[in-house]
């Protein structure tokens, strides 16, 4: 990921959106899903993913459940009711941000 810093601020939004679309997911699955969706352009590191997941869990946006898979325990994350509302908020914030950035970067388009 060449522009890590640009994506870092959007990590929570990415996680919430993915969980909104896919239901419950586990950590490794999230990293692989992001990699696949962006054709390898965005690769979330574990060091960034897990703290973000734990923070969202602490804020009450995510709930967790454990399952025994292939001889080991797996922790699944899913949206809570609050988390579902937060997805809508975060996405609208993100759309607003993208629009503003477009206006700043392509001022001519804005004037036309």
């Amino acid at each position: 990921m060449s522009n890590k810093k640009l994506y870092r601020g959007s990590l929570s939004t990415i996680i919430l959106k993915l969980l909104g679309d896919n239901g419950r997911m586990y950590g490794y699955e999230i990293t692989q899903k992001v990699k696949a969706l962006t054709a390898g352009e965005l690769q979330i590191t574990e060091g960034a993913l897990y703290p973000a997941l734990h923070k969202l869990e602490a804020e009450g946006h995510l709930k967790v459940e454990f399952e025994q898979v292939n001889n080991r325990m797996r922790k699944y994350y899913a949206l809570t009711e609050d988390g579902t509302k937060e997805v809508a908020n975060k996405l609208s914030e993100m759309e607003q941000f993208i629009q503003t950035m477009q206006q700043l970067l392509n001022p001519k388009t804005g004037l036309a």
């Binding site: 590191t45 574990e46 734990h54 602490a58 292939n70 001889n71 797996r74």
Partner: protein
């Protein structure tokens, strides 16, 4: 598809432990991530040995200790939020009525006689101590049984340490002249103290149950 075996999973736990990650609830997530990554490598290279696959993943792996610290911060935040939410619920309607009635009853009974004062305070403080230490004792039993440490409980105890300090306060009062507390602020403080003990008990118990229901089967 080739899967990580029980023995190999244990090797991954040992590896994480060698990186000074002693908490089982932190280890589980790292081990699953590690094992999932290895299994993915095996999808394309099924003949690769576990050790080789592990080495390959290990090269690109993250700082375990930072992960633990970040989880600790998130857990403390979550627990403190829960403690404060529970505590403030006692100060809001309809529970506030119960809180005020308790203060009133306590104040009334306390003024009746010195004997009632002493027995009442002794009773309240003994039950309070029991409620504070009984879950701790249960947790230590559970820990001994599972032979594992849990970051969740370390954080619960860190957050609950203020409750424990408060819980010990009445011990100091026994040395003073009891009539000094023959007033309303004392009644208010005692009721808040009782609420504090009840919340501490509730939080400890809830998290012991979480550990039991989540990890007892897996351990």
């Amino acid at each position: 598809m080739k899967q990580v075996t029980q023995e190999e999973t244990q090797e991954l736990f040992n590896l994480v432990e060698r990186h000074a990650i002693k908490y089982y609830d932190v280890q589980i997530e790292i081990v699953d991530h590690y094992a999932s990554a290895i299994e993915e490598i095996w999808e394309n290279e099924p003949d690769l040995s576990f050790l080789e696959a592990q080495k390959r993943i290990y090269r690109e792996f993250w700082d375990f200790k930072t992960l633990e610290e970040e989880k600790r911060k998130a857990l403390i935040k979550k627990i403190n939020k829960r403690i404060w939410k529970t505590f403030s619920s006692w100060m809001k309607l309809p529970r506030l009525v119960l809180t005020l009635i308790s203060i009133g009853c306590f104040f009334y009974l306390y003024q009746q006689s010195e004997i009632i004062q002493k027995y009442m305070m002794l009773g309240i403080f003994s039950i309070g101590m029991l409620l504070n230490f009984y879950p701790l004792w249960r947790y230590f039993q559970l820990k001994r049984h599972l032979k594992k440490e849990f970051l969740l409980m370390d954080c619960v105890m860190a957050s609950n340490s203020m409750a424990l300090v408060l819980a010990m306060l009445p011990v100091n009062w026994l040395h003073y002249d009891w009539s000094h507390f023959y007033d309303l602020p004392f009644a208010i403080f005692t009721v808040v103290w009782v609420i504090n003990i009840l919340i501490g008990y509730q939080i400890l118990e809830k998290n012991i149950q979480v550990i039991k229901s989540t990890y007892l089967k897996a351990a």
